[in-house]
Amino acid sequence: MVPLSWYLIFSAALFSIGLFGVLSRRNLIAILLGIELMLNSVNVNLAAFWRYGDVTNITGQVFAVIVFAVAAAEVSVGLALVISVYRKRNTVIADEIDMLKF
């Protein structure tokens, strides 16, 4: 039997790799890829807690399914914004999109 802590450490590692991607990639799409990894690590946690808790209590899976919906919404809007930005400014490099400072 795989111990619960392995799952948690695995998901922590996945989360940290995603976090690194979000913090360090220049390309906006790559940043979104990192976010996907982070969301997945959350789902791993939810599924693991479901399996190692009371399996008849399905809450963990419900949450995971809702995370799927949130991820879908997030990625669709995020990529749409990237495409829109690309169309207006002809770049998807995060550093070059710095209108926030004005």
Partner: protein, 117 residues
Amino acid sequence: MSSWVYIGLFLLVGLIIPVGAIVAAWVLAPKKSNPIKQTTYECGIETVGDSWVQFKAQYYIFALVFLIFDVETVFLFPWAVKLNSLGMFAVIEGIVFILILIVGLVYTWRKGMLEWV
């Protein structure tokens, strides 16, 4: 033993057989390559420019609509499984769920965003 082990085995076999076939061909087939053979096939005409051309936004929009409805059906499958035992209330809930999404479809349709050209 979990039935997923069999799925795993299936994946394995499903990989082995095509790989085996391709490796067999690789072993048997002659290898006399030259630059002309390796050019990109474009009906005999020299390729101009980069192959990885930019695509139109419409592809993205269809993929987007697909994604949303895909996730929706994911929600609907557990609903459908339990439909017989849950009665009228669950049916109404599902219908409301679908109707809300159809509103989105109708909106994109009415705004002319489902047109290919």
